[in-house]
């Protein structure tokens, strides 16, 4: 086809609706809230939720993944536009990783050797990693489907960010159920579950976010 013919044809198409950050955010938050609410209404929140939340350490278990959710979702949205530099959006994520690492080290220093990994067991691990992964499936799928409407310059990185957002959103909800308040446990295993989701969505991104 001659280029001028192609242009004539393209010009006849009706314009698509604009890519809307607000729409993507809304859909993702809805998916996270729906999945975790369904989970919490079946499994219940921890019985001492309100008392426990007064402890800064327990509150961080919820706040840390919640901030990761907000920041990674913002970064994923930024990367969905070709002309926005993603590097600015990635820096706060590093800061968050640093906070998590410091919490881990502080807990390691403060706890006696037999307390450090007392909660680690086959059941607690599969419960924590299993539920967080499971709860992030729908949000991850929703977010990636929405990001297809965007135009990411690096589909793998966009996919990974989508997984960070979905995984941390799921972890935020799961933290209201979880009774492991030792940072050595939750930083490690929440982190592991979130990164696992992120690796999977990076692979999905390389397939579904190309254009």
């Amino acid at each position: 086809m001659k280029t001028q013919d192609l242009i004539r044809r393209l010009a006849q198409d009706t314009p698509p609706p604009p890519f809307s950050e607000r729409g993507v955010t809304l859909a993702t938050v809805l998916a996270v809230v729906a999945c975790t609410t369904a989970f919490l209404s079946l499994a219940g929140t921890r019985s001492d939720l309100f008392a426990a939340m007064l402890s800064p350490l327990v509150a961080t278990k919820t706040l840390l993944p919640a901030s990761l959710f907000i920041l990674s979702l913002k970064a994923a949205l930024r990367m969905a536009r070709p002309d926005r530099a993603p590097s600015h959006a990635l820096r706060p994520l590093l800061l968050l990783a640093l906070v998590a690492a410091l919490m881990w080290l502080r807990a390691f220093a403060n706890l006696s050797p037999d307390q450090r990994f007392a909660e680690v067991g086959a059941f607690s691990l599969s419960e924590c990693v299993g539920f967080i992964t499971l709860l992030s499936v729908v949000p991850a799928a929703v977010l990636i489907a929405r990001l297809q409407h965007g135009a990411s310059m690096s589909p793998i990185r966009s996919g990974a960010l989508a997984g960070l957002a979905a995984g941390s959103g799921a972890a935020t909800g799961y933290s209201l159920f979880c009774v492991q308040d030792n940072p050595l446990f939750f930083v490690t295993w929440y982190g592991f579950a979130i990164l696992l989701v992120s690796v999977l969505t990076a692979l999905a991104g390389s397939r579904f976010l190309r254009w």
């Binding site: 280029t3 192609l6 242009i7 010009a11 198409d13």
Partner: protein
């Protein structure tokens, strides 16, 4: 912001509002720029292959035009998409693009080559396509039916019809050229 930048942004803003004429002018205006970018990167490609890449970039601009934010200048967006798709196009062609056409380069650049397909037996070429592509080439490419209507008949979106058409025509061009490449 340069005046041209302003003009392109204005055209595209109108285009996204549904002004087909502004959109056609925008695409026509950016095409020579895209052509220059592609040509600078691919001096060893035949003219028609360069033009294929230009068309791929145009299609990408078209399919992703809603990701431009109308309150920002359009050039950074335009160049980002063009760079991305040009690199993609070269990667997709891989090492198969190394053609020995240096000798013909000046000739090819000098006169705009004829459509190639027009001179050939189009029916024969269509016969070599799969059934769906053949149908699309026949109805959109030859009978000038609107892509939307054809898409509805075949259960495809308008955009998908254009992509199939674009690829089918490339395939036909390759067949017409024979096993040379």
């Amino acid at each position: 912001m340069s005046p041209a930048d302003d003009e392109w942004s204005v055209l595209m803003r109108a285009a996204l509002g549904g002004d087909a004429r502004a959109y056609a002018r925008f695409l026509a205006d950016v095409t020579p720029v895209l052509r220059a970018v592609v040509r600078a990167r691919s001096r060893d490609l035949a003219w028609d292959q360069q033009e294929d890449i230009v068309q791929e970039v145009l299609l990408a601009l078209h399919r992703k035009r809603h990701t431009w934010q109308p309150d920002l200048p359009i050039r950074p967006w335009l160049y980002a998409v063009a760079r991305h798709k040009t690199v993609d196009a070269f990667r997709a062609r891989g090492s198969a693009v190394h053609l020995q056409i240096d000798d013909f380069e000046n000739v090819l650049a000098a006169d705009e080559p004829a459509d190639g397909l027009a001179a050939r037996d189009v029916a024969f070429l269509i016969g070599r396509l799969d059934r769906r592509s053949a149908e699309i080439v026949r109805s959109v490419g030859i009978d000038e039916e609107p892509a939307l209507a054809v898409g509805e008949r075949l259960g495809l979106t308008e955009g998908a019809v254009r992509v199939v058409l674009h690829r089918a025509i490339k395939r036909m061009a390759a067949i017409a050229k024979g096993p040379r490449a």
